[in-house]
Amino acid sequence: MLAKRIIPCLDIRNGQTVKGVNFVNIREVGDPVELGAYYAQQGADELVFLDITASHEERKTFPDLVRRIAQGVNIPFTVGGGISELKDADILLSAGADKISINSSAVRNPQLVSDMAHNFGSQFVVVAIDARFDETSGEWIVTVKGGREATEKRLFSWAKEVQERGAGEILFTSMNHDGVKQGFANEALAKLSTELSIPIIASGGAGKMEHFKDVFTIGKADAGLAASIFHFKEIAIPDLKEYLRNNGITVR
């Protein structure tokens, strides 16, 4: 049976991991390649590298880093951040990325999802959706710029649209849950997972191991993504896998 996936997410700035914390056995703490290889060895099922570099000029170093990750890491990885046209994706594909993640550029230009899927195949295209639940309207509003800017789009219709346009996976981050560490947005996730036929990666809200059990059972997610709880060693991946296995969830 297909296993539920655990995915650490690494933020990259100027070729270094931003939340590089004190990992033993890693020579250069901030080196994304070493950190990626460490997570792979710990049992991470995939990795996501998000380039949060601010300026276009600094971002030019990212493909070199992707090339080094592809050489050093023996599990699949997704890269995202600043991808706004086919050319950007093509460079990252050639550098060895297994998938790219697009977010605000897809909201601005939905045709980009179709073009990416047509040119590189659906398996290469992850559409990241940041959404915030609005109590007043009772709707999930798609946001951009790290949740600061609301858009006209709504979570479920936008998710369906990107699936129809050929996205291979959806990475859904609940801005209400992100950073709060009180669990994932399981209700919305379950609706997404049931209504769509492509895999759903859940992001935002992981604080303890139980939250992963819930996101796979109640939230019906295919994968759970988290950053700080792994980077700060609040949860070790081998422990998490064992916990999930003991709770009847198929993990690698």
Binding site: A3, Q71, N74, I75, L93, Q123, I198, A223
Partner: protein, 200 residues
């Protein structure tokens, strides 16, 4: 030990050479040169993409006949494996016909209580393994898959995986080996499988 990776219009070929380099292979070439492919000790036929477009490309370049005529161990990966089968539903195309089996699209069950998805994306187990590509300790291990189409079971099935149904997650006939999963992305298990292939 010379290893040739078939170069054609099919996705992330670099990841295969990266994996071979990680396990210590020094003499790896990505090439579409016929003589180089024929003289290599091992040939790997990778691939990510759409079946009918890729078959057309192979036919127009003559690579189809070259692959069919190879005598050394050949390993097809993912789309490479599907193209070594008889026929694919993806683009309704006749393929190389090395394995007498058809490639079909997954159909989700109704109802779908386990929330299975298409494509199958992620780690699944390989079972009922056949040597020599698979050493016994690999039975039931997880490897990485990304695909919407599958090869049916047949007498050449070298491993079985379950996603909506049991299918051939690898095939073996004579000098031709093939895996639906990506050994180059399957961690240490994938590295063992690549080493087994190199040792053939």
């Amino acid at each position: 030990m010379q290893i040739a990776i078939v170069k054609y219009n099919a996705g992330n070929i670099r990841s295969v050479s990266n994996a071979l380099e990680r396990i210590g292979c020094r003499d790896v070439h990505i090439t579409d040169d016929i003589a180089a492919l024929q003289s290599a000790d091992k040939v790997i036929f990778p691939g990510v993409g759409e079946a009918s477009t890729t078959m057309k490309h192979l036919r127009s370049t003559g690579l189809d006949k070259v692959i069919l005529g190879l005598k050394q161990p050949v390993l097809g990966i993912c789309l490479g494996m599907q193209l070594m089968c008889n026929h694919s539903e993806e683009g309704d195309v006749d393929c190389l016909g090395i394995f007498p089996v058809n490639v079909r699209r997954f159909i989700l069950p109704t109802p779908n209580p386990d929330n299975l998805k298409i494509p199958q994306m992620g780690w699944n187990t390989i079972n009922n393994l056949k040597q020599p590509l698979f050493s016994p300790e690999l039975e039931g291990k997880f490897v990485y898959f990304v695909h919407s189409y599958y090869a049916e079971l047949c007498e050449y099935t070298a491993s079985i995986t379950h996603h909506t149904l049991d299918y051939s997650s690898s095939l073996h006939k004579d000098n031709f080996y093939a895996t639906q999963f990506h050994p180059e992305k399957s961690g240490s298990v994938g590295e063992t499988i690549l080493r087994n292939f190199i040792a053939l």
